[in-house]
């Protein structure tokens, strides 16, 4: 692995500063747990740092690809989808008396009920505002698969989890 030049290192650090929060929030959307999200971002940034010279031109797209694949890889390693752990502090706040917090957590929990592919599509396409083509590129699937996955994902939310949120 080639060492990063001072200039490349500075650019990498600038990339992390500019996009770190975005990646963390994307990871949270993918996995539903802040601790796991930090792990996913760390794995992604580590991979990127090692290949920075070759991926710098499309660094954000590469980051989304890494995040998505790392999430799926993690599920496969575990042999199942991990339990979604709510932040106890937030959970306590929700159960205390704040209906806004409770609703927010319910909405985000609904997202976690989607199958992994549909969830990744919804997160990248709608929460990160990627184009259909960029979403397809990040997930290694066709634009058609993005369209159908997005449609099915939203339909699933509309028909299932969001019905419960509304009640």
């Amino acid at each position: 692995m080639a060492q990063l030049s001072d200039a490349a290192r500075a650019r990498f650090e600038e990339f992390v500063r500019a996009n770190g929060d975005r990646l963390l929030h994307t990871a949270y959307g993918l996995c539903g747990d802040w601790q796991h999200a930090e792990d996913l971002v760390q794995v992604t940034l580590s991979t990127m740092a090692a290949r920075w010279d070759s991926i710098e031109r499309n660094a954000l797209g590469y980051a989304y690809r890494c995040l998505s694949r790392s999430t799926v890889d993690r599920w496969r390693r575990l042999g199942r989808r991990p339990e979604v752990v709510s932040d106890p502090v937030t959970l306590r706040a929700a159960t205390a008396s704040d209906p806004d917090v409770a609703e927010r957590l319910s909405v985000l929990a609904a997202l976690q009920t989607l199958p992994e592919r549909q969830r990744a599509i919804v997160v990248l396409r709608y929460l990160q505002d990627l184009s259909e083509a960029d979403t397809a590129g990040a997930l290694g699937i066709t634009v058609g698969a993005v369209k159908s996955g997005a449609s099915r994902g939203l339909a699933r939310l509309r028909a299932g989890a969001f019905q419960e949120v509304e009640q």
Binding site: L40, Q42, S46, D87, R104, F162
Partner: protein, 199 residues
């Protein structure tokens, strides 16, 4: 509810939830760039990377980059439970790249939880270090805190430590050197293991 409204609700919820979580980007950038600059030989050492939350109130994560080959066997470990320096159990490898790299760790007696060690555990940590332990539970941990009741073997001294978010990153400081017997409780689970702390 139409699709547009669903997306709007998702965006609003995510924006509000995300507002309270920020990446400590300066630390991450520096640490990871340092890793990239390590070079081919150190690269083969399979550098272990793990997230550690520094300080009980740390809202933002900082990233600890440590070598998996560092010596984690403190002097007191001779009579304490063994520190394994091989690959983690399959169920504890999430977040490690490559997954089968050797990582210093201690598996609990019941095999339900593993303590992943990033530094030599010391009563008085060296400047710039903390007693970082990543707890990884076989079942993912569930909700609620991880409660640790630690007893110093041979002395009877007992202390309790709590990891608020359950099995995960932690800093566990104990008051005396020696072999500590830890009773671990999280969710409906209970298990034990031993950790050695050097002075």
């Amino acid at each position: 509810m139409n699709d547009e409204l669903i997306v709007q609700r998702l965006r609003e919820a995510m924006a509000e939830e995300s507002r309270r979580h920020r990446l400590d980007t300066g630390a991450a950038a520096t640490a990871l760039a340092d890793r990239a600059a390590v070079g081919p030989r150190r690269r083969r050492d399979r550098v272990a990377i793990a997230t550690a939350l520094v300080g009980a109130a740390a809202a933002a994560g900082v990233y600890a980059v440590v070598s998996a080959r560092h010596d984690v066997t403190p002097p007191a470990a001779a009579s304490c439970g063994p520190v394994v320096r091989g690959p983690l159990p399959q169920w504890a490898r999430a977040g490690f790249t490559p997954p089968d790299q050797p990582v210093p760790h201690v598996v609990s007696a019941g095999g339900q939880i593993v303590a992943i060690l990033f530094v030599d555990l010391r009563v008085h940590p060296a400047a710039g270090t903390n007693n970082k332990i990543l707890w990884s539970a076989r079942d993912g941990g569930g909700t609620g805190p991880l409660v640790i009741r630690a007893t110093l073997r041979g002395a009877g001294t007992g202390v309790t430590r709590t990891v608020d978010n359950g099995p995960g990153p932690s800093i566990i400081d104990l008051p005396a050197a020696g072999c500590w017997h830890l009773e671990l409780g999280w969710g409906a689970h209970h298990d034990t293991l031993e950790l050695a702390y050097a002075p």
